[in-house]
């Protein structure tokens, strides 16, 4: 080794410098590689996995109609990072939940109220949008697709035992008793996945009995003053629904505590239970095992007044345009295109969603047709579990309830959590 050492001294240093230059050039090139230049590029953020392919085709067709425009379909980027970097997507089409609510409340989404499409949105949905998040004087989002969740039931099992969907709580208990006496599991519980209890048993029982909208509006007005003496509180208003929830939970499969969402879909598809408290998203999962299973749906009756029956809804997709987007014109044109009746209706038919516009046709899926009447009458509510900020582990509390915790304790904790959070913020 030593004899060759002296010969290449200049060479190696030059090589090192060259390598350093190349690295630098690479970095500079990388910096230039960021989009921009000739054709206008529009970023469309949509990350609902089931419909990524659908929107991909939709955007490809739109691109062909608009030469000189490139629409980039983004389903993986981090939204917060995009806003921090001042390069958010130009159009967003996302689930309207607390993540998007943050952006709405900080006023970084532009006002869409002057678009003619904004007037076509079903006015019954405005309270839902506002309850989740709002920014004074702005229409920050346009609802695009609505999901309605209720009790799914196996029509074959109901027919075999001569049962019809119950309309009152007493009838509901009777149905469960009949099924249990016949050796059929009335309700399939999947308590291992906490969210299934939160959106199912908990939300249905609360929504069927309490005016969720009024409750949360009053709760927010009260601020940190939440307790047994305040006008509304969880321990007062949710006490009765929680009792009904626990009464219904007794009709679940004995191994519910160890079953997850996937197990529930499988068991229900195989006819191992008569009822399943899930939304339309479970229908596609059930169809993977048995595409021909006749499934019906009915809103859970929690009181003895049939007029109290309501379905649980959530805004599955909503369109928005960030103020920071440099291509407002193109972004608005794309939003208008997506809101065109043929485009939005075709999407909702594909995705088992309810139309959000006044001119939308009835839902197409045979199971969901059972719920159309409730949607038309605006007999719906937002899930209570969705209106509690994520800092409060509401789904875990719901799980504690069905696995045997004292309801009063849990609801008192919930009040205390809410008060603490309101005090902090």
């Amino acid at each position: 080794m030593p004899p060759t050492l002296t010969t290449t001294s200049g060479m190696t240093r030059r090589m090192f410098l060259r390598a350093a230059t190349l690295t630098g050039a690479g970095l500079a090139l990388g910096a230039c590689a960021t989009p921009g230049g000739g054709t206008a590029t529009l970023t469309f953020h949509q990350s609902k996995p089931e419909v990524i392919g659908y929107f991909g085709e939709l955007l490809a067709a739109y691109q062909q109609e608009h030469p000189g425009l490139r629409v980039r379909h983004d389903s993986t980027s981090n939204l917060s990072a995009g806003f921090v970097r001042s390069s958010p997507p130009d159009v967003g089409c996302l689930n309207y939940n607390f993540e998007v609510a943050r952006f709405v409340e900080r006023g970084v989404l532009s006002d869409l109220s002057d678009l003619p499409e904004a007037d076509r949105v079903n006015p019954a949905l405005h309270p839902l949008v506002e309850l989740t998040a709002s920014f004074a004087g702005r229409t920050s989002v346009l609802p695009y697709s609505l999901m309605a969740a209720a009790v799914l039931y196996n029509r074959e099992i109901f027919d075999a035992h001569g049962l019809t969907p119950p309309t009152t709580w007493t009838e509901m208990v009777e149905v469960c008793e009949t099924l249990a006496a016949a050796g059929v599991t009335p309700v399939y519980g999947t308590y291992r996945d906490t969210w299934t209890i939160g959106q199912g048993l908990f939300d249905y029982c609360v929504g069927g009995m309490v005016d969720v909208d009024a409750f949360f509006r009053q709760l927010r007005r009260q601020g940190a003053d939440v307790g047994p003496d305040s006008p509304v509180s969880f321990q007062k208003d949710f006490r009765e629904p929680v009792e009904r929830m626990l009464a219904l939970a007794r009709y679940s499969n004995p191994d519910a505590a160890s079953r997850g969402y996937g197990d529930g879909n499988l068991a229900f598809a195989r006819g191992e239970a008569a009822m399943y408290l899930q939304g339309p998203w479970a229908l596609t999962e059930i169809a993977k095992t048995d595409p021909d299973l006749p499934i019906g749906a009915f809103p859970l009756p929690v009181t003895d007044d049939p007029g109290d029956r309501k379905v649980r809804v959530n805004i599955d997709l909503a369109l928005w345009i960030p103020e920071a987007s440099p291509r407002q014109e193109e972004a608005r044109a794309l939003v208008q295109h997506l809101m065109r009746p043929d485009v939005i209706d075709a999407y909702n038919e594909f995705a088992n969603g309810f139309g959000t516009t006044t001119d939308a046709p009835d839902v197409a899926h045979p199971t969901l047709r059972d719920l159309q009447a409730y949607y038309d009458d605006a007999a719906f509510y937002l899930g209570a579990s969705q209106l509690v900020p994520q800092a409060i582990p509401i789904h875990n509390y719901a799980q504690a309830l069905v696995t045997g915790s004292d309801p009063d304790d849990v609801l008192r904790t919930l009040d205390a959590d809410w008060a603490r959070l309101a005090f902090r913020s």
Binding site: G30, A31, D74, S75, T76, A81, V84, R85, D263
Partner: protein, 299 residues
């Protein structure tokens, strides 16, 4: 990395049973059977998930949700692989992941070996000692703490792309790698370098011709650590890279994880495709990893 304590019998003693007293092989086999059983059980923790991944990847959608993870695919289906391939634009994602990883591995090895050499040979000077502590200090700064400022800074200087991710990966690997190299360099006899200098070598030549080749086992270890950290990283590319078409595989795969749908066959097909390179690299380089680790541990 599972470095189980395997008892190695030195070669000269392997013949002992034939020549030694009859009691000795008994004692040894008694000592080894439980250990072998334990190790065999330990391998299951790796082999079982691997088996599930492979079999799941080739199931049909309806079979993948039937609640029986251990069943063999029947009928075997390539639809999961095809869908995963299309949904993640696999070739592009793979290329970006490889680019980021290669830049990270090369950058980490080059920079930290240079830094370690400078530090260990100038240990008596305060500047170098303190710069070592400064580099080590970075070990106590996890990325999530710096995420917000990093996102802003990379966005401002146009590094919100895979190059920026690679630069940050190198930076976060630097402290641990320099620590490994510095410890290893201390065990190299300085006389070797002195002899090279007597033959007229410059510092640069001593490093490239003598020290760096001697560092090879440790470079392998550092390289493997850098490879794993970079290839498997989710958070940094997801926050730093702004263009969705330049995203790495782990981030592209995040679309398979949702609470409402279970597409196990597609997800596992995708996991299998991205796992394969890591396994292959490990298979070919584990000899050097082991060598590097033991060389660092036993002087």
């Amino acid at each position: 990395m599972s470095l189980a304590p395997v008892t190695v019998v030195p070669a000269d003693r392997r013949d002992a049973p034939t020549t030694g007293t009859p009691r000795r092989p008994d004692r040894r086999s008694r000592a080894n059977v439980p250990l072998t059983v334990v190790l065999a059980l330990c391998t299951l923790t790796v082999l079982v998930p691997l088996y599930v991944t492979v079999s799941m990847a080739f199931k049909t959608t309806s079979q993948s949700v039937d609640g029986n993870a251990f069943s063999l695919p029947s009928p075997p289906s390539g639809s999961g692989v095809v869908e995963a391939w299309l949904l993640t634009s696999f070739p592009r994602g793979f290329a970006v992941s490889v680019l980021v990883t290669v830049l990270t591995v090369v950058g980490t090895i080059v920079l930290s070996s240079l830094a370690a050499y400078a530090i260990s040979r100038n240990w008596d000077r305060r500047f170098f000692r303190w710069s070592f502590f400064y580099l080590l200090g970075a070990m106590f700064l996890p990325f999530p703490v710096l995420a917000l400022s990093q996102v802003k800074l990379t966005g401002m200087v146009g590094l919100d792309n895979p190059f920026g991710v690679a630069v940050l990966h190198v930076m976060f690997q630097l402290s641990f790698s320099t620590l490994l190299y510095t410890a290893f360099l201390r065990s190299l006899p300085e006389e070797l370098e002195e002899s090279a200098r007597l033959d007229g070598a410059t510092t640069w030549q001593v490093f490239t011709r003598l020290v760096f080749p001697l560092l090879a086992p440790m470079s392998a270890t550092v390289g493997i650590f850098a490879f794993l950290a970079s290839w498997n990283d989710f958070m940094m590319p997801s926050l730093i890279t702004s263009a969705p078409e330049l995203q790495t595989l782990p981030v592209l795969q995040s679309i398979f994880q949702t609470q409402f749908s279970n597409n196990y066959n597609v997800a596992f097909a995708s996991y299998l495709m991205s796992m394969a390179p890591a396994i292959v690299v490990y298979l070919f380089t584990q000899r050097w990893v082991m060598a590097g680790v033991t060389q660092g541990a036993i002087k």
